[in-house]
């Protein structure tokens, strides 16, 4: 394309050249980096208050308002979605496409064509590399050299032309494609991202234990239907001993479609649930005290059989065989004994829930006792054992719901990028040419090598080859880089 391209320097060619230039690439790298910095400092998609407060550290309050208005006008408060940032990404993509197309024909040609013998005069130059005498009978030299090449991991091909015999071989030719695969992978990722943005959504929903929802709230406040119902059957959070650090939190979710339960699964952080291409992620949780929550007890009266019981706050329940009634009169999600020896609520989350039970006989209150879920010794009461199993319906699970039809493109892009990078940086294309010349009963061999990376390693292999063939290491390699 070199010559034709220069002749008709029309507008198309000039646009093409513009997008095919590496200079454009590095300018785009710099521009995307610099603009991105602004996006990490200025709070994105947040209300004006936060950013005005930030600006107020430098400007007076009235100036801060003016500056904020200016920033908002050019989109700095939501810059990853502004037309100019997207334009930068588009130019970046165009740059990759055109650069790859521009170089594609040459690359494909070199991929198809295997290594060719070198003109014999190249071997006679001073810098031709290793030279030596093969101590073998004439006819067998080709076999011996091929065998020696095999030992260092190369597959030799014998070429005879004009009475000159050359053995040439190469390795890692496809490694040269690594750069293009890497560039292609970026396009896959960008395409996947666009597909995800146009055809998918990202939203959240909060479900109290026992509640269900068929809508999801998007980040922009819009609510859209899921097409089925999702219910939280149970939520459970455990904490590390003596700390408020959560160890794990899990929700049991059930999908209800057309009134029928189709799927029940326990999800946790790093373990989501996918149904009909919508994925639900465990993202947060919380405690919400309400009158409908159920205290679940397992009651074992003295000498009697265990019985499950679920009651609301303040609701009276019988303790069979004892004549006593009980009810929950107080509750704390996180109970601890403070330094004065009093009970104290220390957190909002259900780290150590406790219920204060009031026992009565007829109309007379007989006793009160705190029962803590995590401390079995508090379950023993005068009328038998009351195990506090759970307060159900007072915790909510925060779910992230996502639909992204483009995510598989992103994954393909990731795999391509990893492979491409590996090939581009860690594989080298090495070529070896060996000239064989008959010389009074012996064979003189001359070696030229070229490698685009890690020439020292190839050199060491050639040293071994020379030692194998001639018994000495001969001249050091001066192979060129290409």
């Amino acid at each position: 394309m070199e010559d034709e391209g220069k002749k008709q320097n029309g507008i198309v060619d000039r646009v093409w050249d513009f997008f095919a230039s590496v200079k454009l690439a590095v300018i785009i790298f710099a521009l995307i980096s610099i603009t991105s910095i602004a996006g990490t400092i200025i709070e994105q998609q947040a209300g004006p208050e936060k950013n005005i407060m930030l600006l107020n550290k430098i400007f007076s309050i009235s100036d801060a308002h003016t500056v904020y208005k200016g920033m908002a006008a050019i989109g700095l408060t939501d810059m990853y979605n502004t037309w100019w940032f997207i334009a930068l990404l588009l130019i970046f993509a165009m740059n990759i496409v055109v650069c790859s197309l521009d170089r594609m024909p040459g690359i494909l040609r070199s991929m198809r064509e295997p290594i060719k013998p070198l003109p014999p005069e190249r071997f006679s130059s001073v810098q031709a590399g290793r030279k030596g005498l093969l101590k073998a009978a004439a006819g067998k030299s080709e076999e011996i050299v091929t065998e020696a090449l095999r030992k260092i991991g190369f597959k030799g091909r014998v070429e005879t032309a004009g009475g000159v015999t050359q053995i040439c071989t190469e390795k890692g030719r496809y490694g040269r494609l690594g750069v293009y695969v890497t560039h292609l992978s970026i396009l896959f990722i960008m395409l996947g991202a666009v597909a995800g943005m146009k055809l998918g959504y990202n939203g959240s929903l909060m479900l109290l234990e026992g509640m269900s929802s068929d809508m999801v709230k998007l980040n922009n406040g819009k609510e859209i239907p899921l097409g089925f119902e999702i219910r939280c059957d149970d939520f459970d959070v455990t904490f590390y001993p003596e700390s408020e650090r959560p160890k794990s939190y899990k929700s049991v979710l059930t999908i209800v479609e057309n009134g029928r339960e189709v799927l029940t699964k326990e999800i946790g952080v790093n373990a989501p649930l996918t149904y009909k291409s919508i994925t639900f992620y465990q993202s947060s949780y919380g405690f919400f005290a309400n009158r409908n929550a159920l205290f679940k007890f397992r009651i074992t009266p003295g000498g009697g059989a265990a019985k499950e019981s679920a009651v609301k706050f303040g609701q009276e329940f019988d303790i069979e065989g004892s004549g006593f009634k009980a009810r929950v009169v107080d509750f704390s999600p996180a109970l601890a004994i403070n330094s004065e020896g009093e009970l104290d609520t220390f957190a909002e989350a259900m780290i150590n829930p406790g219920a204060l039970l009031e026992f009565s006989e007829g109309d007379n209150v007989r006793a009160r006792q705190w029962i803590l879920r995590n401390y079995p010794e508090t379950w023993e009461t005068p009328i038998g054992s009351i195990e506090f199993r759970d307060l159900w319906g007072a915790q909510y699970t925060g779910l992230q719901a996502r639909k992204d039809p483009g995510v598989w493109l992103v994954y393909i892009g990731c795999v391509l990028m990893a492979t491409g990078m590996y090939a581009a940086f860690f594989m080298s294309h090495s070529r070896i040419w060996i000239l064989l010349q008959e010389e009074s009963g012996a064979t003189r061999i001359s070696i030229i090598s070229a490698s685009n990376k890690n020439r020292a390693a190839v050199g060491r292999k050639l040293d071994r080859l020379m030692e194998d063939l001639t018994g000495s290491k001969a001249l050091p390699d001066q192979g060129g880089q290409s």
Binding site: V22, K23, A25, V26, F29, A30, I32, S33, S36, I37, G39, T40, I41, Q44, Y80, A193, N202, Y240, R245, P246, K247, S248, Y249, G268, V269, N270, P272, T279, Y281, S283, Q400, A401, R402, V407, V410, Y411, C414, M417, A418, M421, Y422, A424, F425, F426, A456
Partner: protein, 361 residues
Amino acid sequence: MNSSFFFGISTIVYLLAMIAYIAYLVFRKNPVGIAATCATVAGFVSQTIAFCLRWKEFADIGQMGLLRAVPLTNLYESLVFFVWCIILGYLIIEWKYKTRSFGAFVTPVAGVMLAFISIGGVSAEIQPLVPALQSNWLLAHVTLSFLSYAAFAISFATAIMYLILGAEKRGQLAYIFWTATLALFLTALIAMGLDFLTLKVSARSSQTFIQNYLFKATFRNESGAVMIVSVLFLFAVMFLVWRFGYMLRTLIQSFSITADMLDDLTYRLIAIGFPVFTIGGLIFGAIWADQAWGRYWSWDPKETWSLIIWFVYAFYLHARQMLGWRGNRIAFIAVVGFAVTMFTYLGVNLLLSGLHSYGAQ
């Protein structure tokens, strides 16, 4: 024998190696050089054993399986791993380039860093992981990210050395640039050392440290006087490095390190760090984020700054390989790359908020 015992041994052995390397530079006797290399290898082996033991201890305490108990969750562990990476990188360079000249620079950094870390607080404390970090991706994401950070750190050192060799006059832009960068870097290291000594914080998670303790003993001190003294100290260091920088140049020249070799080393280190960072930091990070948060990319400040690192080094590689940039300006890009890396590691947690701020208690 637990992990701290072996860490202690490697600290001492690295410091012995430092003495041997300096002796080697002075006397130029081969046996001394071999002794220095052996000491470094011994320290490295001991540190590797310590790392494995620590891993096992973590797995035993955390009870979350061997794969997830990567001992890289607090500051102490991450800095120790960083030292390990640097020594590994150095040993490879020594072997590949057949030169021991860098040893006298690297081993003191390693020894002093390990010593600081062990003085700076209780090292045995192990923090269990919050649910978001309980994933098999932690191992791949964190170790590869740190490996690439270490490669970038060494490339920063070689690029700065290149600039030191290349700039002759004090008025030259390159001279002012490298003296200012080096002074800033040294002051930051000293300030962090003071944090360790006064606040005893190495058992904290690195995020907690960065947000609540970093530079608290100096630049972010409650007392205004200490802050002013710290800033004055920074300027003093800048002036001293600027005034006496030529001595460093003479020193490096005397070690028979050439500018070409430094340029080549910088390139090779970036050519290793860049793909490792892309695969381990960006790709594995994105896949993990996709599984944990439902978003492979959310323009969170940590992510965005990682992307900036990626673009800066992409800039370096394209400018050097395709546009033929050489000399001071390409070394300058390598320095900027590491500055951005450091900002991603420290500055983002210190100044910007986002999803990656675990442990922000």
